[in-house]
Symmetry: C2
Subunit: 188 residues, 2 copies
Amino acid sequence: MRRPLTERHEVLPALAEVFREHGFEGASLTRIGQATGLGKGSLYHFFPGGKTEMAAAVLAEIDAWFEAHVFAPLCGVQDPERAVGAMLESIGRYFHSGRRVCLVGLFALGDARGTFARPVRTYFRRWVDALASALVRGGLAPASAADLAEDAVMTIQGAIVLTRALEDPRVFERAGSRVRERLRLKRR
Amino acid sequence: MRRPLTERHEVLPALAEVFREHGFEGASLTRIGQATGLGKGSLYHFFPGGKTEMAAAVLAEIDAWFEAHVFAPLCGVQDPERAVGAMLESIGRYFHSGRRVCLVGLFALGDARGTFARPVRTYFRRWVDALASALVRGGLAPASAADLAEDAVMTIQGAIVLTRALEDPRVFERAGSRVRERLRLKRR
DNA sequence: GGCGGTCTGTACCGTTCGGTACAGACTCTG
DNA sequence: CAGAGTCTGTACCGAACGGTACAGACCGCC
């Protein structure tokens, strides 16, 4: 019936959700097994390195998704102003208006600090740089573009924290319009 | 030598650091015991409710500290502009320029979501409201004061995430100046 | 010095943890 | 259908988990 059967990357979304909901330490193999519908045997077949390898794989897929849907478009040839708007829209959908946690940000806060420091750093640096490059192509000076990009990324991260804390998605929406306004304002 | 011996609140700082470093689920009683120098027996003597009560006590102390050193001054009689500046300075010292995690924000991201939703919500709401009140006393319209206050708090939270991710305290410092500038800019 | 209560280290409870071993059910090839 | 190889559920391991029980160390007090 099914092909060579499940492939490794097919379980990644479910895996990611477990890590998002419970963090690295809180994501037990039992929970992971339930969420993916896989027994430990299958899990260790796909991820011989255990939980660490699972989390690394999830991070890698997240990074790939952002590279394709967020970072690359920012660096692409299309109108930079439109690219920035598209980013904010993608981000809003991806994070479910702040109800969904940013796993990379969560790991940055300490859940599995040392282990994933590198991919975490790379992800955020790439995000800031990509956004800054779009702003530069939009006519901004490199210095203020970098400053503005850094501000935008951290505002989004803070918006996720505050939205979940206050349990009110409008917080995230307001943050989005604020960022949009700031990025547009500085253009001229 | 020592008085009735250790009091409950004397172990709270060490306790808080363990939760900050490992999150709620990652903070095992063994680690807590090592960090506080107390055996399980003593811990359960002070916190009959176990780990949950420990975390609640830590949150309560954090809240009290912010109430005394951040929120109350913002609502006080002193010059609002000076109060805002003092807040940013306190915050910077408290969070070690972003190297230290905000435990309340960490809990908001999911580590112990349901259990501490109430104190988490209260803490952030109080923070935003206190800052907004200072801005209103500074001459701002209530609506834009609320907007600006929300933006400042989320920027600080995002700055902590980004500072730790990039492992560069200057990120936090830059965020501080940006917030300061924004809060001053709108005054006139 | 004895007393009563507060405090604390140790041993232990049942459970769950991350990880391993392995038998057998599957799919494909011939 | 036979065989090789891939996949997967179950049972199991030692360690560590959160939490409890309790004997005794320690204290101010008389």
